[in-house]
């Protein structure tokens, strides 16, 4: 209401107004009973005597812009009326809360800064409902949040539990590999990847088990070398390791419970891409004497490292190899008897599946 309007109103109908100023400088007056519904404004009026005129307008917190103030005042205007039933209030709230997520976030923030608890409650619940049932990526997208957890923090490798440098190295390599595969997934056609999920050469893995690439020998040779080195190096690095241990994020293995499904998807979806572990190897050799990713990394005999790298690469290749013909062989071998053709509501799904195997 402008000052002109106010002059026209009869004195006995005069309401009291509170003057409010938002961060952008604009000032407005609001009916007292509405504004006083906000604890922060109430406090300013009662404790500090502010708000009685334009010159003494209450400066609202920065998070309350004019648009948000308008919404908040609508809320207050409705709820400060004492006679309303719970049903009415609830119905108002349900309609009031319908807005896009961005405004909802702004509103939550603004309501919080004005200490308007019932509105914070209402908006928080609405935000919680938006978050429920979504994946971390979806949530990140909705709220424009950075993806700043490292792969290790998400996967939680075996820190602080084993001193075996080989296992730690394997962990780090696995973590790196997963990150890589994830990045590749973003670039490549996801559907193409998923089709290849089943194409793993079992026979290859078996021949690996039987020691075709002489890894076991390699391990034995370098092990004796490793023993002497390790003892020395461990003493050297213990204090450094302790420092790093504390610096790193604490293990939160429970993350793995939910993100492992993601990881599993990532690894399987990345099948078919022949991973290039050379980059990973270079990282290790370049950073031999540094601490990569702030990770605990004992000095390991480079020859042993090489062996481990090759082991991991082989194993990874086995897991990822795309030998569709081999797998088809294996699959068709198991199909001496065709599945019974009966109609499930006449739908073709079962029949289609059966046909695909006859290729």
């Amino acid at each position: 209401m402008s000052e002109v309007d106010m002059a026209v109103i009869k004195p006995e109908m005069m309401k009291s107004y509170i003057w409010l100023q938002t961060a952008d400088g604009s000032i407005q007056q609001v009916e007292q009973e509405v504004a006083m519904f906000c604890p922060m404004i109430c406090h300013e009026v009662i404790q500090k005597g502010m708000g009685s005129s334009k010159n003494y307008a209450i400066s609202l917190p920065q998070r309350v812009n004019p648009a948000m103030l308008s919404l908040i005042l609508d809320y207050c205007r409705f709820h400060q009326v004492p006679g309303r039933s719970n049903k009415e209030r609830k119905s108002f709230d349900e309609k009031f809360i319908r807005m896009d997520t961005k405004r909802l976030c702004e509103l939550t923030s603004a309501a919080d800064s004005l200490q308007l608890k019932p509105l914070v409650d209402l908006t928080s619940r609405a935000l919680a409902r938006i978050i429920e049932g979504k994946s971390p990526e979806e949530i990140r997208e909705i709220f424009h949040l950075p993806d700043d957890l490292t792969e290790e923090e998400k996967l939680e490798p075996l820190k602080n539990t084993t001193d075996d440098p080989r296992i730690r190295l394997l962990n780090r390599l696995y973590a790196k590999k997963r990150k890589e595969l994830k990045e590749r997934q973003k670039l490549k056609n996801i559907e193409v990847e998923e089709e290849r999920v089943d194409d793993r050469s079992v026979d290859d893995l078996l021949s690996f088990i039987n020691g075709d690439n002489g890894d076991s020998k390699g391990i034995k040779n370098s092990k004796s070398k490793k023993k002497n080195r390790r003892r020395k190096d461990q003493q050297k690095n213990t204090s450094a390791n302790e420092a790093i241990k504390n610096h790193n994020k604490e293990p939160n293995g429970l993350n793995q419970v939910c993100c492992s499904a993601e990881v599993g998807q990532t690894v399987r979806a990345g099948v078919g891409a022949t991973s290039n572990l050379h980059d990973v190897e270079d990282d290790i050799f370049d950073n031999k004497n540094e601490l990569d990713d702030g990770d605990i990394d004992d000095e390991i005999d480079p020859a042993l490292k090489e062996k481990i790298d090759r082991e991991v690469e082989d194993f990874a290749r086995r897991l990822n190899s795309d030998w569709p013909e081999r797998m088809q062989e294996i699959l068709s071998f198991g199909h001496e008897r065709k599945p019974v053709h009966f109609s499930l509501n006449g739908n073709d799904s079962l029949r289609r599946y059966a046909n695909s195997e006859q290729r």
Partner: protein
């Protein structure tokens, strides 16, 4: 680009938002969003669920979540229920209690399933947590009534004490008297598993009488029928009641007393217990039957006609657990009377008998599937099944979420066609798109696993016994079932190939159990070596696995993902496959 201003909140606001997000899955998702959310979330996480106590260490949990008030832990694998996990395998809760005693002085709730709990643990709980409120010991063992006495005596604000299906060394019924006279906070008390015939009945009565908020009370067999009325009259607000023995010589005054006591319980919705039932006393329940939503008669040896009469009085029934005495005729009555039925469990009265002792066949289940549109969860023991019946069930009830069929004799074929039951179970997984849990039985080839791998996209738990022809079966499941968390297999011809080819899958699951299969010791070792995030446990009570050639199959294999590394509390008959040369033992 990122509009950071619009979406940033002060921590307290985010905490408030998170306080409305309670499911574990959602909390886990929130913690993976970004660093700041992870940090805020972990400080305001109050409830933690750990599905495998060896997947993470207590210290890790405590470091990550400093303000936990409620914890739920599971120990032994599910097949422990069928005596497949030898005694002493593990699942000890004491290390957890010991760590939490120092770290979580305000802990309020502990819920355990299939864990070994000692009196020492119970005493430690009683001593350490000043505001302790809820203790649930589901299928636990290792403790006695002395431990319970400590809990009763010390926990001033105890709300729930639930010992369902646990094995308790029942030394004396006197432990109940340890609840101080000042204890009035009980909401739930379940002592149905206590075996002894002694119970301090007067202590029980007084306890029940002074707890006005008591909603759930499950007595044990020691409480005789004539005592029930007294208890009920002191707790007419009960919602859930488990009787003791429900047998006595029929006496009119006892009967009318009992009927009167039941009818005064206006809130009673759930009944259980009923050991040794005398059918003549069943009508005492009729006044509350119209309100009943849950009825557990799995110990009640009452025959079909009496069951039919009882069930016909319960039109609101949502959950029924019953012995196969119910027979097809009883299930047909259920199908016509109980349109709200959601869960049905039919247990065998004589599982080891050679011949069927009751007329319960696949027809009963088909009738229920046809008549009960809300049926979601089934556990059914029977002696014969057909593909046609399974297809019918699948078509009638695509809303099934749990389907556990146990045909008592292994490898039983379709009794009509003598074919395997592949097609029938295939129909179940194809039609029931939200199926989360499935147990197979009967004669099954690799084909059933093809169907499961193709259609079982939401399947989380699968139990398999005496099924399949080759590794292909296991491969189908591991490569196809995207949501699989728990897989338990016994007596199937699954070997190394499928397991090794799908090694990465195992890290996405909680656990895999394989016993009496064909997985070689060499493969176990390889798996343990190559997959540092898995604990590969070989269990063999007869001799160490390395006393035989590597190609020999292991007796029992339990693989589970873990960030805590190999455990150190293993008994002599468990070996963890670990580093290249050394096997941890």
């Amino acid at each position: 680009m990122q509009k950071k201003m619009a979406y940033s909140f002060p921590d307290e606001v985010l905490e408030q938002v998170f306080s409305f997000i309670q499911s574990d899955k959602d909390r886990n998702a929130v913690s993976l969003v970004c660093k700041s959310w992870d940090e805020i979330e972990r400080w305001c996480r109050r409830k933690v669920f750990i599905g495998n106590c060896y997947a993470v260490s207590p210290r890790m949990v405590i470091r990550r979540f400093p303000e936990v008030r409620s914890i739920k832990l599971k120990g032994k694998p599910h097949f422990a229920d069928f005596n497949l996990v030898p005694d002493g395998w593990g699942g000890y809760v004491l290390p957890w209690i010991a760590e939490m005693a120092g770290a979580y002085p305000w802990l309020e709730e502990i819920r355990l399933k299939r864990m070994v709990v000692t009196d020492e643990s119970l005493e430690l709980i009683a001593k350490s947590f000043k505001n302790f409120k809820v203790l649930v010991l589901f299928s636990c063992e290792g403790f006695s009534t002395d431990g319970l006495a400590a809990i009763a005596a010390s926990c001033k604000n105890l709300r729930e004490l639930d010992l369902r299906e646990s094995e308790v060394d029942d030394l004396s019924g006197h432990w109940l008297a340890h609840f101080p006279e000042t204890c009035t906070s009980l909401v739930s008390l379940n002592i149905s598993c206590l075996r002894s015939d002694e119970v301090s009945f007067s202590a029980l009565e007084r306890l029940v009488g002074r707890c006005p908020n008591l909603r759930s009370l499950r007595l044990n067999r020691a409480v005789t029928l004539d005592k029930i009325a007294n208890i009920l009259r002191r707790a007419p607000q009960l919602v859930d009641f488990g009787t003791g023995y429900y047998a006595a010589e029929l006496q009119p005054d006892v009967f009318s007393n009992l009927a009167g006591a039941f009818s005064s319980c206006k809130e009673l919705k759930s009944l259980s217990g009923f050991w040794d039932v005398v059918p003549a006393y069943l009508p005492a329940l009729y006044s509350i039957c119209p309100r009943l939503t849950s009825l557990n008669l799995s110990y009640a040896t009452i025959q079909s006609p009496d069951l039919i009469k009882l069930v016909s009085h319960c039109p609101r029934l949502q959950r029924l657990l019953v012995l196969d005495y119910v027979e097809d005729s009883g299930l047909e009555e259920l199908a016509s009377s109980c349109k709200d039925l959601q869960e049905l469990r039919v247990f065998p009265s004589d599982p080891f008998g050679a011949e069927p002792n009751v007329s319960l066949t696949e027809q009963g289940l088909v009738a229920v599937s046809l008549g009960c549109p809300k049926l979601r969860s089934v556990l059914y023991f029977c002696r014969r099944m057909s593909n046609a019946a399974l297809v019918t069930i699948a078509q009638n009830r695509p809303n099934l979420t749990r389907f556990r069929l146990c045909i008592i004799e292994p490898k039983t074929p379709d009794y009509l066609t003598l074919e395997p039951l592949d097609v029938g179970f295939g129909a179940i997984v194809e039609h029931c798109k939200d199926l989360r849990r499935l147990s197979l039985s009967g004669l099954l080839t690799d084909h059933v696993f093809e169907y499961i791998g193709t259609y079982g996209k939401k399947l989380e738990m699968l139990s398999v016994a005496f099924a399949g022809d080759s590794d292909l079966g296991l491969h189908h499941v591991l490569s196809g079932c995207e949501s699989l968390r728990k897989l338990e297999i016994r007596d199937c011809p699954f070997g190394d190939k499928a397991l090794l080819a799908n090694a990465a899958k195992l890290e996405t699951m909680r656990s895999l159990w394989m016993s009496s299969c064909a997985v070689s010791f060499g493969a176990c070792k390889l798996l343990g070596q190559k997959m540092p995030k898995l604990n590969v446990e070989v269990i063999d009570e007869t001799e160490p696995p390395d006393s035989r050639p590597e190609s020999c199959p292991v007796d029992k294999l339990y693989i589970y993902r873990s960030v805590a590394g190999p455990r150190f509390d293993m008994p002599p008959f468990v070996w963890t496959m670990g580093e290249a040369v050394r096997i941890l033992h």
